[in-house]
Symmetry: C2
Subunit: 400 residues, 2 copies
């Protein structure tokens, strides 16, 4: 068998299954591989080890249609490995290898072969390999990798994150579609509540999920959150059997995944606002205005820190500073794409990353007042040639 | 603030949201905590550190209604920690803490507090802490834990796995419900194909998901698999836009999650079998007979190895030995419950674990013949006082 970078080429089991023209084509995967190798060389790195799992697949799925499957073993894991001067290889579990070979444009090997392969690569080499996915790579797998690297170093490095941050037209179209499906889910919640019957958080989340699937979503991007009344003050929570009450502020955080691309949406609403205290309306308005400030002022050439500044300032001025993590400098947005949350660009204080055309990220404002309620208003935006364009269209001030 | 085991008690933010009587009640969580502490003491362990994440939550969700949320940071993680002689504590991210406190019957602290808390616990102690969730705990979190343990050791240990293996009545009812919803999903696929129109793998998976949600599933237990024709020979794969053809063998692996409990089902079928080669029918029959052998012969008091033997033997006799990993000794089943795959009992050669009443696990037979097709026939079973009871009812030999 021919070997490249010390790793045996797996037998060709490759054929192209019927696919939609919306999917990322082989040529785009190949371009990404060529570009990451250029970036690795430019950064003086020896290579890239990139981890993805079934639910946080971006760092692998960026290079292949393959996504690992659910599980507690290596079936849920994958490693994309490319040397500065070698061909890429995808490491997957044995049970996934045949499928991975079907949908991957480069070599697929199994995890059983990984340590030998990495050992062969690292023989006589020093230098540093970039690690992507360091926040969630399992220690079990991480140990196997580092044990095989000899004198080479493995360090977190943003080389892949920076590349993923700038989207192609096709990617933007897929995110726009996922956003559209997410907007539809909000509409489904609105329509349901309009009947005036009692509805629980759990039921509304289910209806949202059903609407996204009915529209063609492959699944939710993440488990839908619907939190009503005092529960809307929880930053993150799961739906319960609580019935949404008149006058409630309701936090929702719902998103679709469409052909691998996510929408990380967020909208709050007041249900039967004639019964709601003024403070709740102030909360809704303040969050919307903060996000508007970002939408209106953001432009290419600005730093992420500057963009954050517009939104952080708006939140501070709103009077809700102590109830908003964004107001206190925790960041007003994050990269998004194949995973709901991606590493770059982080929209937050001190981040000197310059915003470039076709970066896609979220803009968000969370306000949570214990005992009253809260919301997270989150938009998905694209940097245009002159400003920011929202990829989702749903309004932000919602009184149902 | 009162401290126990060195970890500060978080302020009480606890109230009981409205819940269905199907849910695991506080009293059952409290019983589990008491029993795990007894088991820890009996095993001579100093305590238990149990990791769960958003998707593989069982090792935490066993003790609390809290399940982490999707994400790439600690929001997706949780640690349940209990000492042999101390009160339990749940470590979660700051953003999840308020929600966790709402639904957890014991102390909740944040990950920011974890290292100090573990350090205080381990001061002047030696001994070993059991680790649950070792296969998938992130290295980032694992390092933070071990760095804080001083002279104490942290080692994988089955103390929790053994307890989870035996289900209560309420748990069995939830698994039965999840299995029922899964059976309904198979029926949805059958009904759809009966119209004689072209249907893709992706479409059938979507319909299955929609049926499970419509029946009340909180979500799928895992991403649904539908693989038709030659793709049915992939052990694990994702659905594509391939249209199911007359004569195809189709592998499906679909399961619902209902109020935290999963059904890890699996059925293959032949579509318009009048067009199918005899070998495909032989494959369906052989897998069904192997699972039947397990269902008919399994009983309490038998070892997992003995039960495996019945199924492994049937597969060897079928003539498909070289096409079946179970026939070659890779195991014919696994524990199941809150996660689709749980650690105990593993049904496989050499496992001397004695089967006890109310253990719940899967029985499975996978046969994949490259170029022809394959399937995984997987049932969910409960050990009764005298044998095995299947919790799912859907037939195994399906000719549609």
């Amino acid at each position: 068998m021919a070997t490249t970078n010390g790793i045996h080429k797996s037998p060709a089991l490759r054929h192209q299954p019927t696919f939609s023209s919306e999917n990322i084509p082989s040529s785009e995967y190949q371009e990404r591989i060529a570009r990451i190798r250029d970036s690795i060389q430019a950064a003086g790195l020896a290579g890239l080890i990139s981890f993805g799992d079934c639910w946080r697949g971006a760092n692998v799925c960026y290079f292949t249609e393959f996504r690992p499957l659910d599980g507690v073993s290596d079936i849920a894991n994958a490693i994309f490995f490319v040397g500065a001067d070698t061909e890429p290889v995808l490491f997957v579990s044995k049970q996934c290898a045949a499928y991975a070979s079907e949908v991957t444009t480069f070599n697929v090997c199994t995890f059983d072969e990984m340590q030998d392969g990495l050992q062969d690569f690292s023989k006589g080499r020093s230098g540093t390999l970039a690690l992507a996915g360091e926040a969630y790579i399992p220690q079990n797998l991480y140990q196997r990798i580092t044990a095989a690297l000899g004198n080479m170093k493995l360090e977190p490095h943003p080389v892949l994150a920076e590349m993923k941050a700038i989207k192609t037209e096709r990617e933007i179209a897929l995110i726009r579609k996922a956003s559209y499906l997410t907007d539809q889910a909000m509409e489904a919640i609105k329509e349901t509540l309009a009947d005036g019957q009692p509805h629980t958080e759990r039921e509304l989340a289910l209806l949202a999920d059903q609407r996204m699937l009915a529209g063609g979503a492959e699944r939710t991007a993440y488990d839908s959150m619907v939190q009503s009344g005092p529960r809307s003050a929880f930053n993150l929570a799961r739906p319960t059997d609580r019935v949404v009450q008149a006058g409630d502020l309701v936090m929702t955080d719902i998103g679709a995944r469409y052909r691998g691309y996510c929408a990380d949406g967020g909208r709050g609403f007041i249900y039967r606002s004639e019964s709601a205290e003024q403070e709740k309306k102030d909360i809704v308005k303040a969050a919307a205005e903060a996000v508007e400030a970002g939408l209106n002022h953001g432009r290419p050439g600005m730093t992420a820190s500057e963009l954050n500044g517009f939104m952080q300032k708006a939140l501070v001025k709103s009077g809700f500073e102590q109830y908003s993590s964004e107001a206190r400098g925790h960041g007003t947005g994050h990269g998004t794409g194949m995973d709901p949350e991606e590493e770059a660009p982080w929209i937050g204080p001190g981040n000197k990353t310059v915003l470039k055309e076709n970066m896609v990220f979220t803009l968000k404002a969370t306000i949570t007042v214990p005992g009253i309620g809260g919301l997270r208003t989150e938009r998905i935006v694209r940097v245009t040639s002159s400003g920011l364009e929202a990829l989702d269209v749903y309004p932000m001030e919602l009184y149902w």
